[in-house]
Amino acid sequence: MNISRVLTIVPAFFILVLSLASPASAAQLAERETLPNGMVVLHAGRHSVPMVSVVMAVKAGSISEPSAKAGLAYLTAALLTEGTLKRTSREISEAIEFVGGSLSASAGADYTTVSLTVLKKDIELGFDLLSDIVRHPAFREEEVARKKKITVNMLIQQNEEPEVVASIAFSKAVFGEHPYGRQVQGTVDTIPAVTRQDLVAFHEAQYAPNTTIVSVVGDISGDELRLLLNRYFGDWQQTKLPDTTLPTVEQKKSPAVIKIDKDLTQTNVILGHLGIARSNPDYYAVSVMNYILGGGGFSSRLMDNIRDNRGLAYDVHSFFSANRYGGSFQAGLQTKNESANTAITEVIKEMRRIQTEPVSDKELSDAKSFLTGSFPLRIDSNSKIAGFNLAVEYYGLGLDFVDRYPAIINRITGEDILRVAKEYLDPVNYVLVVVGNMEKAALKY
């Protein structure tokens, strides 16, 4: 009775059930196409909710800016929604918010992301706004001044967040002059130096179809999408990208300890060093190893030791941040100032242990079964699929990645874990950042 009533209202709902009866496979995840102007389009039609999510990645991240103008990529992205040649800042926000949609842009290190979410009925408006802000931002002087001021204020306020303070210091110590070593938002010294001319020039040089991937997921057919892309991005001209040469980063030859004194009840700890790029063939073995060490929540050794057994922290974790042009490893936690030494000692101990003793068969099989078994959860909504497809394209993983992933994980052995732990963890020449009450922490490191 219930079902028949639903059927009369939304037959599409049940048609979709049948088509998804078997687990999602790559063929259903996305269609890939390159437009004549070089823009790469990934499309996944999902018609059960009348909404569309669009995520665009433009190669206009902080790696493409000069270090003296740190924050240029960030400001460029932040100003996209603050006015175009034909719309004011207010007109943009009113247009998108009136229909309950969202439109935002933010810069990362590698690329800038522009995201649009709208109800299906507003897709035309959505694409109109999206293409307008990406292609024709105005960078009006008063908006530039306003955004610079707010950015400086936000950078100042970040000092109230010990984890952010620690993280900024850590990246700087690990990556030095490499763009990964600086905050995408720039600093209170570099932001004031960015001019309107810088923004216009950066936009012109970096924002182009041949540097852009667009990932579209939701209630939209391939034909509908093609029409919209033609109308709003068809005449977007290619540009020749300036070459970016990135400085090389050396692994440290001695430990570096950075102490930042603040009147806090906890000491925030980050301990780590250089890591690997996403393209490193050991990426997957490293993922499994890190899951066991500190990535696997309550299944991880760091959590078991430092939280569960010792009650020293609420949050303790480790991760490899693996990007296109390099990466880092870090273990992080917060603990009352007085127990900082103990917690740091335990982190180092766990790093050594996974380098010297083989992991147990149970740990290995648990890690593998989580990483493979949780895959459906990584792609079970429009927004997740949009982001996932983008990453698959950016890192060149191939659209059959979903199908290949379980086998890649399952062939990793205990010897692999030991080998990558030895190769990619360094419990001696690390960078250690501590932010807290240094008198109470009385650090022995």
Partner: protein
């Protein structure tokens, strides 16, 4: 066991082409356990959640934080399953799990590939009855919660202000207490306190199961009946002490802490969503605060540039009347007094002159669009169903959307005049103490 079939028509206001409904089914077992199931086959995943009607509102003075500590202890093992096994079992199956505690409720959830969704059913049934609460694990977990409190509140200046404002807004009603508990209380919580709390509130007649995702409801109901059906109903749940005398005049509190920028937060006592004014308060909050076209952002951040953030929020989805909040972070060099004046000026304006039709329509469109868009996530759908069920009842979702649609511009002004008044407000201000230089 009785079964009630109902369809919540969520979006009749949309055009015919986009109209659809959410077929939520309600079941109640003989022991009082309620089950809400929403089949959603968009993706081969599902969430299993169990929500208990217990939160910080049910705690006694001197024992704050008990509900939240018990939430932590629920992961520490039962007579049947050893310590540390719960999350590990879920993870081995590729799932994730977590829990949350609020003023009104405590919820536990698992997210899994849908072919494994029966796995958490037994585990949740087991920990509803068989939890082990002994001294050592309790003391160790108490330390963990103490660290959590340091992380979330002690070392976070703006959170500290919120806590102080709540404590001053309510003199007596338990909403005055922080969910995580006062630091001075945490050290006193012992296994006996936990055991009593557990035995009183963790019973089928005080719980609601919510399942959303790619499930066959017959199958999952059979599993739930097998696992939970034999658990006897508990004693009637004691009523919390909920008195609160009338406020006669503004209250002000200050927090002095190492921080960078001054911050202000004001709480006005307002009814919850069971009162018809709740809908207009919700629209008022949206007009003041949702997005860059909202009034507070426009006035304080964009035009006057005296704040780096400014916001308002109607907290109506609570069992008892709670608060309407406004707040702002001052820009560097700006006085918090000027920020406060600017906030109050915006409230004065909207109290005196009704908002434009466009502003009211935007707020309504935002509410309606968000209800459609949250269907992208099985987790969000379950959270919405749960938070309505714990406060107003899940069927209230319909009345909610209906009520929002009926709000007029004059209603918005009227509730601003009626509730956002000086004598009913409690203001908290963060006064930053300059930090000492780091090494």
């Amino acid at each position: 066991m009785k079964k009630i079939t109902l369809i919540a028509i969520l979006c009749v206001f949309l055009s015919a082409a986009t109209a659809f409904s959410l077929p939520i089914n309600e079941y109640v077992l003989d022991n009082g356990l309620k089950v809400l199931i929403l089949e959603d086959h968009k993706a081969p995943t599902a969430t299993f959640q169990i929500w208990y009607r217990v939160g910080s509102r049910d705690e006694k003075s001197g024992k704050t934080g008990l509900s939240h500590l018990l939430e932590h202890m629920m992961f520490k093992g039962t007579t049947k399953h050893g310590p540390k096994t719960f999350s590990q079992t879920i993870r081995r199956a590729g799932g994730t799990d977590n829990a949350f505690t609020s003023r009104d409720y405590t919820g536990y959830f698992e997210l899994l590939a849908s072919d494994r969704i029966s796995l958490p059913v037994d585990l949740e049934a087991d920990r509803m009855r068989n939890l082990i609460l002994t001294r050592d694990p309790v003391l160790s977990e108490r330390d963990v919660v103490t660290e959590e409190r340091r992380l979330r509140t002690e070392d976070d200046p703006q959170s500290s202000v919120f806590e102080e404002v709540m404590a001053a807004t309510f003199k007596n009603h338990p909403y005055r207490r922080p969910v995580i508990g006062w630091m001075s209380d945490l050290g006193t919580l012992n296994p006996d306190d936990l055991l009593e709390h557990y035995r009183t509130y963790y019973a089928p007649n005080n719980a609601v199961i919510i399942v959303v995702g790619d499930v066959d409801q017959k199958q999952i109901m059979e599993k739930i009946r097998t696992s939970f059906g034999s658990i006897p109903a508990g004693l009637p749940i004691p009523a919390a002490a909920l008195g609160e005398d009338e406020q006669r005049g503004e209250r002000r509190v200050y927090v002095k802490k190492e921080a960078e920028l001054p911050y202000i937060m004001t709480a006005y006592k307002v009814p919850n969503l069971s009162h018809v004014d709740g809908f207009a308060l919700d629209v008022l909050g949206s007009i003041l605060s949702d997005g860059k076209s909202s009034r507070l952002y426009r006035a304080l951040v964009y035009d006057q540039q005296i704040a780096i953030s400014a916001w308002a929020s109607y907290e109506g989805l609570y069992r008892d009347p709670f608060v309407f909040l406004t707040g702002a972070t001052a820009a560097q060099g700006k006085k918090i007094e000027d920020v406060e004046r600017a906030l109050l000026e915006e409230i004065r304006k909207i109290s005196q002159t009704p908002p434009s039709g466009q502003e009211v329509q935007r707020a309504k469109n935002q509410v309606e669009a968000s209800f459609v868009m949250q269907q992208d996530s099985i987790y969000m759908q379950a959270r919405t169903i749960g938070s309505f069920e714990m406060t107003m009842g899940w069927k209230f979702v319909d009345s909610y959307l209906d009520g929002i649609r009926k709000v007029t511009a004059e209603d918005v002004s009227r509730v601003a005049r009626k509730y956002l008044i000086d004598d009913q407000k409690t203001t908290g201000i963060l006064i930053p103490i300059p930090k000492e230089k780091g090494s």
